[in-house]
Amino acid sequence: MKLLWLQSGGCGGCTQSLLCAEPRPLFDELRDAGIEFVWHPALSLESGDAALQILEDCAEGRLSFDVLCIEGAMLRGPNGSGKFHLMAGSGRPMTEWVERLARHARWVFAIGSCTAYGGFSASTPGNPLEACGLQFDTDEPGGLLGKGFQSNGGLPVVNIAGCPVHPGWVVDTLEKLAFEGLAASDLDAYGRPLLYADQLVHHGCSRNEFYEFKASAEKQSDLGCLMENLGCKGTQAHADCNIRPWNGSGSCLRGGFACIACTEPGFEAPGHPFQETPKLAGIPIGLPTDMPKAWFVALAALSKSATPKRVRENAVVDHPVIRPAVKKAGK
């Protein structure tokens, strides 16, 4: 299976994250799955004219490839000219290259939330860059390729959303496609592969004992649950970050900071400070979506009243000050 990879209005972080793939080094993992790069801007030897020749051959259908991977937002400005991102050496807008290449791709993958939904560029007030995703404009179907776009393989754009993507999300989706195929039923309503997006960041969170008792962190570096005060959206964000760790053993929550729901369209402009939970009458708005609010408030009140001293006190410091009690066998 052949990949052609291009980068546009993004930070390159999805490629950099991908290179952290584990347990096997990325190139070995892909090679043994029969996956190879036709060209990748960060990794391939060919530069200048040699690189442009490869891209032109792909865009004209002379050189076949299977998956078009795009990283970074589509920048259509200023005034629809695409000049905010011209493909180096070609003088042509990247948006034009992407449209030409997408016509010949069997599958099109949006790598990261910028490519999927437009990213920070699209969420700037007034969107001066005229940024969008490949098939979404924030949470609205549309984007550069249009809401009805299907690649030759019969799928809409596969949105491997995340800012950045976890390397496992990309590798697993590619290997699923290579070995078993990918169907529309493998994607959710925002085009995300269910293999990582049918979980919530909340699942497997190491702070779950604090969540159970609503024992909340009050300030940065506290150990408690980050939902009540510090802006955590782990109960609403679709991703398996706390089941499939980052960089060996990490996650945002394990790192001590809130989930900002970077796999969700529009996460860039939440309408409140990222590290603060908006509240109404002292009650956080944006509670878990699949739980009636009244029930949540009632349960929270109950669980807070039942919080063990250990959990309550450990929640507001940066290291445990009360250890779990040790009991004798059988008592």
Binding site: Q7, G9, C11, G12, G13, C14, Q16, S17, L19, C20, E22, P25, F27, F37, P41, A42, L43, S44, L45, S47, G48, A51, S81, F84, H85, L86, M87, A88, G89, S90, F120, S121, T124, P125, P128, L129, C163, P164, Q220, S221, P245, W246, N247, G248, S249, G250, S251, C252, L253, R254, G255, G256, F257, A258, E268, P273, F274, Q275, D318, H319
Partner: protein, 477 residues
């Protein structure tokens, strides 16, 4: 004379195009273009000041921690918050991990593959170097990627994830290291040291960092097995120690309390003290950028207003200047400013060069990893890692840090809690800046002049461009 356009200039971070005027097979003038505009400075305006911590890492996927550190430092300077000792150690560890991983990624994935080009097929070192460093397929890649991923596990423990962590705060770090994590982190550092000593350098870090002159370096490398000695052998064969000189005025903000900041030039003398850095002497010129024309402005007063049809412009990159002068930044600048003897000897003999820039990255790997081992041991589990940020209603701040590629500065001001100005000067904005209003070309533009170019030319231009390890996504933030 003919004009040659080189692009896409790949295996750099982001988008780069280089336009060369070539006469009789030599470059007589160069124009460096960043053909991508992202506009993060405008994007930040109107946001709550602390939101910068979540937004600025997204400027760059290869030095996102450095961007975080600059924003955190700018907010800290606006608030007066101090970091507890653990917080400072944790921030240094997190930033150093990213900077050193960058040096490794650059060497193996971005820089060395050019030595595997067919134009070197007649060189004695070619067969070994080509099979080791060929892009993607080379024998060096698996171990290098493994070492990189393993090293980034430090960030898994210390900052949650990489890239785009929110752990770095003005008052320290959100992640207090546990006693168990301290043991694991030390083990990871030993593992990384092992890779550097056996595979990359072929000798101990301490032995390498003690080399004090070019002749000592050559003696050390002679006949030595290792990926860096293999580079050095090829580089001396190609005389890359005298290729790629820019203006030889070096700028560094100083890093981790380990490398002093300042400004230095070989004209001052090999053992001369540095000029103290005066940030007030920094200004950005926009005369050749697609930005509304105006006088050069210090970043605290800077503007970024698009003018996509400006006639004299050829890039989205501004031209930062220090006291009106072209300055180079990066690992080499950091080391010569800090007075590192080997780096200074190389620059005093030949000026800045491809070889000197690569050697400087190796010096950093060899000196910073042992420092990291000390920082981890100095952390006291149980002591605080983070002090609370209390921002005034209005204010301004400056954050000056060193990213892998050099000096990174954030200048912000805010009113009623919201950002009203945010200006960023990234390392590659210095190094890959265009001509300024007085006609001075930027550092890379100067470094390319006189190089061989054309159909049959060796890839010297490739080596020079990549010796700076450019980060174009930062440049155009």
């Amino acid at each position: 004379m003919k004009r040659v356009l080189v692009g896409p200039f790949n295996r750099v971070e982001g988008d780069l195009e280089v336009s060369l005027d070539v006469d009789a097979g030599q470059v007589v003038a160069a124009r460096v273009n960043s053909p991508l505009f992202r506009g993060f400075e405008q994007l930040l305006v109107g946001r709550v000041a602390q939101d910068a911590l979540a937004i600025v890492p997204r400027i760059c996927g290869i030095c996102s921690i450095a961007q975080s550190a600059a924003a955190a430092a700018a907010l800290a300077s606006a608030s007066g918050v101090q970091m507890p000792a653990n917080g400072k150690l944790a921030q240094s560890l997190i930033l150093a991990t990213e900077n050193l991983a960058d040096h490794l990624t650059h060497f193996y994935l971005f820089f060395m593959p050019d030595f595997a080009r067919a134009s070197y097929v007649d060189r004695s070192w070619y067969p070994d170097v080509a099979s080791r460093f060929a892009a993607i397929k080379g024998s060096a890649a698996p171990a290098a990627l493994g070492a990189r991923a393993g090293f980034f596990k430090l960030i898994g423990f210390l900052a949650g994830r990489w890239p785009h962590s929110l752990a770095l705060q003005p008052g320290g770090s959100t992640k207090a290291m546990t006693a168990a994590e301290r043991i694991r982190v030390l083990a990871l550092l030993r593992e990384f040291r092992g890779f550097l000593e056996t595979t990359l350098l072929g000798g101990s870090l301490e032995q390498f960092s003690a080399l004090a002159s070019e002749s000592a370096l050559r003696d050390w490398a002679a006949g030595r097995a290792g990926d860096f000695p293999a580079f050095l052998n090829a580089a001396y064969d190609l005389r890359l120690e005298s290729v790629g000189r820019a203006k030889d005025l070096f700028l560094s903000y100083g890093a981790y309390d380990l490398f002093a900041g300042g400004v230095w030039s070989p004209e001052y003398g090999e053992t001369a003290a540095v000029d103290r850095l005066d940030p007030a002497k920094i200004a950005e010129d926009v005369s050749h950028a697609w930005l509304a024309q105006g006088e050069p402005l210090p970043p605290a007063l800077g503007e970024t207003v698009v003018d996509a049809n400006k006639a004299a412009a050829y890039t989205w990159c501004k031209a930062p200047r220090y006291a009106g002068q072209v300055a180079e930044t990066g690992a080499l600048a950091r080391q010569v400013v800090a007075g590192q003897p080997l780096a200074r000897d190389l620059v005093c003999r030949h000026g800045a060069s491809v070889t000197a820039r690569v050697v400087a990255r190796m010096i950093e790997l060899a000196t910073v990893v042992p420092a990291m081992e000390h920082w981890v041991k100095a952390i006291v589990p149980g002591d605080p890692f983070c002090n609370q940020l209390v921002l005034p209603d209005s204010g301004e701040g400056v954050g000056l840090v060193e990213a892998a590629r050099g000096s990174l500065g954030h200048w912000l001001s805010f009113r009623r809690g919201r950002i009203d100005r945010y200006q960023i000067i990234a390392p590659t904005t210095w190094n890959f800046s265009p001509h300024d209003g007085s006609g001075q070309p930027g550092p890379l533009e100067q470094a390319l002049i006189g190089l061989p170019a054309g159909e049959e030319a060796a890839p010297t231009i490739q080596h020079v461009v990549r010796s700076f390890d450019p980060c174009m996504v930062c440049t155009v933030h």
